[in-house]
Symmetry: C2
Subunit: 378 residues, 2 copies
C-alpha cells in the first residue's frame, strides 16, 4: 500500500481494492466459461474505462450499460459490442443512430412504439432484445402473456435493419429474497419462464433467439444456467453491504469502502459524526433489526481495511453528515480528524454520487460522471 | 416560456421556475427584515453562483454553506462573509487557513480538538460559532449541559485570532413534525433553549454572543424570532414535496421539477416507467399511507407545470429507472417518448445528484458539482 494513501485524504473518498476487484471478475468469468454462457458484464456499477480494461484479459468483448450516454463513453474507450439494458428512450434517437454506425449496438424494446421509432431512425443494423418481465414487475412484457411477445417479435422481424437477437430479463426479485436458497430458486424460476416464452415463440416460427439474464445475486449464487445464453451481472465487481447481507458474496469479497473524516464524537450516546452524507453515499439501505442502515463500519489499515466492526453502522444521513453508531469500546481509539471506513449499502449509487475513486495503490480512477480527479481547490 | 424548452430535453432535467425562486427569496428576506434578524441563507440547496446573485437585490451579504469546498466556490464568486455550517474538518485545515485570509470565514466547533486545530492553523481572524444540540441529536454540545459549552467558550476566548461570534443550532426535529403547529413549537422551543444557554454564558462572563438558527420549516412557518439574531434556511429557495407535505410551503411555491422521458407504459397495472432513477433524484422520500414516495407527478405545460396529478407518485427507484404510479384516466394522454414532470421529495439531494439545472426560459444553471452544462455527446 502507498503509505500516503490515507494521509492525503481530506474528503469522503471511495477506495477500491484492485486485487479483490480482479478476483471478483475472474471468478465470474470462470463461472460463465464453465457454464457455457456469455458474460456481458454490466458496466453501470464501476462506470469507468479503466476498470473496464481489467475485464479484457478474461476475453470479455461484449458489455452492458444502463444509458445511451454510458454507451457513448464506453464506445469512445474501445468497446465495440454494447447493449443498453434500459427501455429505448425515444428522445435520444439521434444518439441511437450515431451509435448504430459506430458499434454493434443492442437495445431493448417492449412496445410497438419502440420498434417503429427504431426502424425509422437507424441506418445500420441494430440488435434488438425484447424485454420480458419474468416476475419483477419493473419493465417488459409479461412472461405469462406470450402472445403479446410473439406479436412484437413478428413486428421486429419485419424490419430489415432490426436483428431480433433474443429475450432479455432482469430477475430483480432476487434482491428481495430472504435466503440464498430463495435467490437461486427465483433466479432459476425466472430462467425457466424465459425458456417457456422462447419455446412458445419457436413453436410459432420465431427461432434462433438467445436468452439474456441479469442480476448479481442470481449469477453469484446459482451454478445452474440451463437455458441461459448470456448473463449480465454488474455489482459483483465491487459488491456491497446489500449483497453481503443477501449472501451473494462474502464480506472479504467486498472491494469498495468509503474513507470518511471523523468530524465529531459523541461517546455518551454511542455515535460519531462523519463527513460523508447522502450526497456521497446516496441513500439506499440494508435493514438491520427493522431499521435502515446505510453502510457498515470498518477500520482502515495497512492492508486496506479490517473486517466489519461488530455493531458499527451508518444509521443516519443528511446532506453532508453521516451518523455512525459505534460500540463503546471503539471510541478510545478514535479522534476527531481520523479517517474511518464505511462499506456502502449499495455501491452502484455511491460510485455515481462520488464520480471518482481511488485504488489502494493511490491511483485515481475516473468515471463517466466525473471527467477528472478532484484537486484541492486553492 | 421558450417553446423549445421541452422539445430538446432528452434526459432527466431539473427545471426551475425563476419567478417562484425570486418570490421565495423575497418572502424570506422581507420576513427577516420585519423580525429584525439577519438572513444568512444556506446555499447548499441551489449550490449555484448564478442563483446566489438573485439574493443580492435583497441586501444579502452573508451566506451559509455545508462544506469548505462550497465556501471556496462561493468565495470565488464574490461572497465575502461565509459560514461553513458543518463540524470543522481537521483534514482540511490548509483550506481553512486559505479561506481565512480571503474572506470573513465562520466555522463551527464543538470540542477542544476543533479549537486547538483552529488556533494552530489560522493566520487571520476567524468567526467561531459553538454548535449547540438543541434537541435534534445530530451534532453539537447538548443545550442542557451548559457547563461544557461555557468551558469551550472560554477556550475559544483565550485564542486571539478566534472571534467567538455566537451559538448555532439546527432544529432538525422540525422536519419530523406532524403538524404546522408542532413545527412552530419545536422551532421556538429550540430558540428558547439557545437563549437559556446564552444567558448561562452571560452570567458567567461570556457576553455579546449571537444566536444563529437554521431550518426551512421553522423559518417558513414561525413569525416569532425572539432571541434569534440570524436565520439560515436553505431549502426555501426551491421547496419540495417534503416541505409541502409538512406544510412549510404551498404547492404553488415549489420552484423545481424534474422533466423525465417516459420510456414504458403499463396501464394494466397503473404504472409508467421514466428515465429518472436514484442517480438523478437521490433517494429521500415522503411517506404517503405508510409507503415511501420519491416524488409527485405533474404535467409540463406552457407555464411550466401543472398542479400535482392527484394520486400520481414516483413509487420505486432503481439506478436509472423510476416507476410512476398513475391514475387510470391519465394514460390515454400519455405516449412513450413524452416528458412528464416530477416534484422531487428532497430537492437539495436532487440538485446535487444532477449537478446542473435549467430555467423555464431555457438558461442552463451550473452548480459547484458540475462545471458545465451537458452537451449531446457525439
Amino acid at each position: 500500500m502507498n503509505p500516503n494513501l490515507f494521509s492525503d485524504i481530506s474528503r469522503p473518498t471511495l477506495l477500491i481494492d484492485q486485487q479483490r476487484v480482479q478476483r471478483n471478475i475472474q471468478r465470474m468469468a470462470e463461472k460463465a466459461l464453465r457454464a457455457g454462457v456469455r458474460l456481458r458484464p454490466h458496466f453501470k456499477t464501476h462506470q469507468s474505462a479503466r476498470v473496464g480494461e481489467w475485464f479484457r484479459p478474461f476475453g470479455i468483448e461484449a458489455i452492458t450499460v444502463s444509458s445511451l450516454d454510458m454507451a457513448v463513453y464506453f464506445a469512445r474507450h474501445g468497446w465495440k459490442d454494447i447493449l443498453v439494458a434500459f427501455p429505448l428512450n425515444l428522445r435520444q434517437m439521434t444518439l441511437v443512430r450515431h451509435l448504430s454506425k459506430l458499434i454493434r449496438l443492442g437495445v431493448l424494446v417492449e412496445s410497438s412504439a419502440h420498434v417503429e421509432a427504431l426502424a425509422g431512425s437507424v441506418e445500420g443494423a441494430v440488435d434488438v432484445w425484447i424485454k420480458v418481465d419474468s416476475g419483477s414487475r419493473r419493465t417488459g412484457l409479461a412472461w405469462d402473456n406470450p402472445s403479446s411477445i410473439l406479436e412484437l417479435a413478428r413486428q421486429v422481424r419485419e424490419q430489415p435493419l432490426l436483428n431480433l437477437r433474443g429475450l432479455l430479463t432482469h430477475a430483480g426479485e432476487t434482491y428481495k429474497s430472504q435466503s440464498v436458497t430463495e435467490v437461486v430458486q427465483r433466479f432459476q424460476r425466472s430462467n425457466q419462464r424465459m425458456n417457456q416464452v422462447r419455446q412458445f415463440l419457436e413453436q410459432n416460427g420465431i427461432d434462433d433467439l438467445e436468452v439474456s439474464v441479469g442480476d448479481t445475486p442470481g449469477c453469484s449464487l446459482s451454478d445452474d444456467f440451463e437455458g441461459v445464453d448470456e448473463i449480465r451481472p454488474g455489482n459483483f465487481v465491487f459488491y456491497d453491504a446489500q449483497m453481503a447481507q443477501l449472501g451473494a458474496c462474502r464480506e472479504a469479497e467486498i472491494a469498495a469502502v468509503v474513507a470518511c473524516p471523523l468530524v465529531a464524537l459523541h461517546p455518551n450516546r454511542g455515535e460519531a459524526v462523519i463527513y460523508g452524507g447522502a450526497v456521497h453515499f446516496s441513500k439506499d439501505a440494508v435493514l438491520e433489526n427493522g431499521a435502515a442502515v446505510y453502510g457498515w463500519v470498518v477500520q482502515l489499515n495497512e492492508q486496506g481495511w479490517s473486517a466489519r466492526t461488530p455493531g458499527g453502522a451508518l444509521v443516519r444521513l443528511s446532506q453532508e453528515h453521516g451518523i455512525l453508531r459505534l460500540p463503546a469500546e471503539v471510541f478510545s481509539s478514535l479522534a476527531v480528524g481520523d479517517l474511518i471506513g464505511v462499506i456502502p449499502a449499495h455501491v452502484c449509487l455511491t460510485v455515481s454520487a462520488l464520480g471518482v475513486y481511488r485504488t489502494l495503490q493511490g491511483e485515481w480512477i475516473e468515471t463517466l460522471v466525473r471527467a477528472s480527479a478532484p484537486a484541492e481547490p486553492a
